[in-house]
């Protein structure tokens, strides 16, 4: 099930509003496609993210993928434990596998809701 409490990019990142912050991560569909995760590179607290730009990389045995930012803002917290615990991304991408928290004054815009993202995954599907 794709959670209804957040929004999505076609490139399989999710963004969830938490108070005045936006939390970013990747979807279960992305994780299943990548499989065998080996490495993640995340920004540092204080880094500026720009909507549509890369904020990190995730690598599996199969491929390296860019992590794309859906928002403009400053990174205030990084889930740096993921570096040595990629199984959290693999097993619980929507909760324990969160990646960064961003102070994004202009908030979330022009992203997909769960139903629209579901359609993207079906078109990409098996």
């Amino acid at each position: 099930m794709i959670p209804n409490d957040r929004q999505y990019l076609e490139s399989h990142e999710w963004a969830k509003k938490e108070g005045d912050l936006v939390v970013l991560g990747i979807t279960d569909f992305a994780v299943k496609h990548l499989t065998d995760l080996v490495y993640i590179k995340l920004p540092a607290a204080g880094d500026q993210l720009k909507k549509g730009d890369r904020f990190g990389e995730i690598e599996s045995v199969k491929a390296v993928s860019d992590l794309m930012s859906p928002v403009d803002g400053e990174v205030v917290e990084v889930n740096s434990e993921l570096v040595d615990a990629l199984d959290r991304v693999a097993n619980d991408p929507y909760h324990a596998g969160w990646m960064v928290k961003v102070r994004a004054p202009s908030g979330i815009s022009s992203m997909l809701d769960a139903a629209a993202y579901q359609k993207v995954t079906e078109a990409d599907g098996h």
Partner: protein, 362 residues
């Protein structure tokens, strides 16, 4: 996706495999995960759809001379039932494809790569033009399935008449398989494990796939995708066209002279002899890389500050539990113990090691 389907594509979809376009074919990359499937083949047994590969038979007056002139290996002394690895080379010694050569009583059968099928056939037919040699493309009429892993022989025994355990490595027999008479059962593979490759009429592909999975269930037989196949072949030091060999490489550079008979005349022999005497500018090496990141095709290899080569294949090896790869490097650097590579902007040391990375105990 416009890729061509094999007779087994619907079986892979039913098993919820992740499908990709590989050399124009709609193929499973994995069913569970690449590492999980690769480990399974090393300890138990796996099943592979190889229907995308090309299958060609040459027969008719002069076929043996023609094949001997086009493949790099010695063929004259091959007895019926013997298989050899070889390359098709051009006049300048570069590689058109790598192939398996099967000696049959009155013909020679070749198993060729999916992506090179059309141009290999064109090459064979161009050389057969004006002779009585018949080049028969059996690719569509025959299916091909591989059974690989230490328990392969236990599964094969349930479906073959006679004892498939008696077939020698790089040999084949023609026997009754899954109730079909006169089926070629070949003790070959691309994983570094014991195993078999079966060639049989394409219309039986689905029945045979299911019969194998059912018969092999007690041994843990599972379908395996191309991702694990690539990992297994790289661990076993087996070349892949487009990586360790391609249109620009000679068997000398690719460390494949064991598959070349320089005493006979074949297309490319003179150029390869000449290169052997003069030396080649680059050589294939194997390497290990510590750390989490996987080396990938095209990453640049350095000797000190000098760019001297590039990565051709790389993966995380589940058997060695480290990252491994192959690279072409300048001959002057090929005997160094340590080089480095540019891993997406970060310079990482690599340890040069002999190939293969993995050899099974026999």
């Amino acid at each position: 996706m416009n890729a061509q389907r094999t007779p087994l594509s619907s079986e892979h979809e039913r098993a919820r495999a992740q499908m990709v376009n590989f050399s124009g074919w709609y193929m499973p990359v994995h069913y569970t995960s690449i590492l999980d499937e690769a480990r399974h083949v090393r300890k138990a047994v796996g099943l592979f759809d190889l229907c995308h590969m090309g299958r060609v038979r040459l027969s008719g007056e002069g076929y043996a001379d023609l094949v001997d002139r086009l493949v790099t290996c010695k063929t004259r002394n091959m007895k019926t039932g013997v298989i050899r690895y070889a390359m098709l080379t051009r006049e300048d010694g570069t590689t058109i494809d790598d192939v398996l050569v099967y000696r049959e009583p009155d013909s020679i059968f070749l198993c060729i790569n999916a992506g090179n099928r059309n141009r290999d056939l064109a090459w064979l037919r161009a050389h057969a033009a004006g002779t009585n040699v018949v080049v028969d493309d059996l690719s569509e009429r025959f299916a091909m399935i591989a059974l690989q892993g230490p328990k392969s022989v236990d599964v094969a025994r349930k479906l073959c008449e006679g004892d498939p355990g008696a077939v020698k490595y790089y040999g084949f027999t023609v026997t009754t398989f899954c109730g079909m008479p006169n089926i070629m059962v070949s003790r070959t593979g691309y994983t570094g494990e014991d195993g078999y490759e079966f060639y049989f009429p394409a219309e039986r592909a689905v029945d045979v796939w299911r019969a194998l999975l059912e018969a092999g269930a007690p041994e843990g037989l599972r379908p395996i995708g191309l991702g694990a196949r690539d990992t297994l072949r790289l661990e076993a030091g087996m070349p892949l066209f487009g990586h360790e060999i391609d249109d620009t490489t000679t068997p000398l550079e690719a460390d494949l002279m064991w598959a070349v008979d320089l005493e006979k005349d074949f297309v490319g022999a003179a150029a390869i002899r000449d290169l052997a005497a003069r030396g080649t500018p680059r050589r294939l090496v194997g390497f290990k890389l510590a750390g989490k990141r996987v080396p990938r095709f095209g990453y640049v290899v350095y000797d000190g500050d000098l760019a001297i080569g590039e990565v051709r294949s790389g993966t995380f090896s589940p058997t060695l539990e480290t990252n491994i790869g192959t690279a072409f490097v300048g001959t002057a650097s090929a005997d160094k113990k340590q080089l480095s590579l540019d891993l997406r902007g970060s310079r990482e040391a690599i340890e040069i090691v002999p190939l293969p990375f993995y050899r099974r105990a026999r």
